[in-house]
């Protein structure tokens, strides 16, 4: 629940989602669900020439189970808030 709430607060931010198959996609976080499935808008693949399949894709849905990393800009991350939330969850 913690990361679901966290990602809900990050809706509208630019993120880079790196998948387990090494594909990295940059886009605006549109929505997230309880499985941490991610919907991105305005997407562009980080290494476009390596993945020509995705050239015309601007919005995509990514299944939560295939995400390796969600890269966020450091200014947007409030460490203290995350610490507090983690402590609350652990109780």
């Amino acid at each position: 629940m913690l990361f679901f709430s966290y990602f809900k607060d990050l809706v509208g931010r630019e993120v880079t989602v790196e998948l387990k198959n090494d594909l990295a996609i940059r886009g605006t976080l549109h929505s997230v669900d309880q499985y941490l499935n991610i919907k991105l808008e305005n997407t562009r693949v980080v290494d476009q020439d390596k993945y020509p399949h995705m050239l015309s894709v601007r919005n995509c849905f990514i299944r939560g189970s295939v995400v390796r990393y969600v890269q966020l800009p450091p200014e947007e991350v409030d460490i203290e808030l995350l610490h507090d939330a983690t402590r609350r969850e652990a109780r």
């Binding site: 998948l19 198959n21 594909l23 996609i25 929505s31 669900d33 309880q34 499985y35 499935n37 919907k39 997407t43 020439d49 020509p52 399949h53 995705m54 050239l55 015309s56 894709v57 601007r58 919005n59 995509c60 849905f61 990514i62 299944r63 189970s65 295939v66």
Partner: protein, 122 residues
């Protein structure tokens, strides 16, 4: 809770999609249905095989794909170019040959590396 997933996928219903599967395959088609596991019904599906600058669309018809194999579902923007202009369409037989050539090259590279390793050559 299924509502959350529905809002994610509902938008591109009936839209032309690119779907990436867990085994690396790329499918194109029209989204007809989905469920809470991200299982998909894809109509008019074709598998787009890309090897270097060659590509081939292999028609598959109506498919049901189990959710655990789905990696990514992308909505194709009809106004944008589907593929880079330097790519050429080839027949199924030719793309299969190109794929096999790629696999053989990888295997050869792998076996050469192993031979070098066993001979302890830097």
């Amino acid at each position: 809770m299924m509502i959350a997933f529905s809002t994610l996928v509902l938008l591109p219903i009936l839209a032309k999609l690119v779907m990436l599967l867990g085994d690396g395959r790329h499918l194109l088609g029209l989204l007809r249905s989905f469920d809470q596991f991200a299982s998909i019904v894809l109509e008019g599906a074709c598998e787009r095989v890309i090897v270097g600058d060659l590509y081939c669309d292999i028609p598959l018809g109506l498919n049901v794909i189990r959710g655990e194999n789905v990696v990514l579902i992308g909505e194709m923007d009809m106004e944008k170019e589907e593929l880079p202009s330097h790519m050429t369409a080839v027949s199924t037989a030719e793309i299969k040959r190109a794929q096999k050539a790629g696999r053989d090259a990888t295997y050869l590279k792998g076996s050469m590396k192993n031979i070098m390793k066993s001979l302890d050559i830097d």
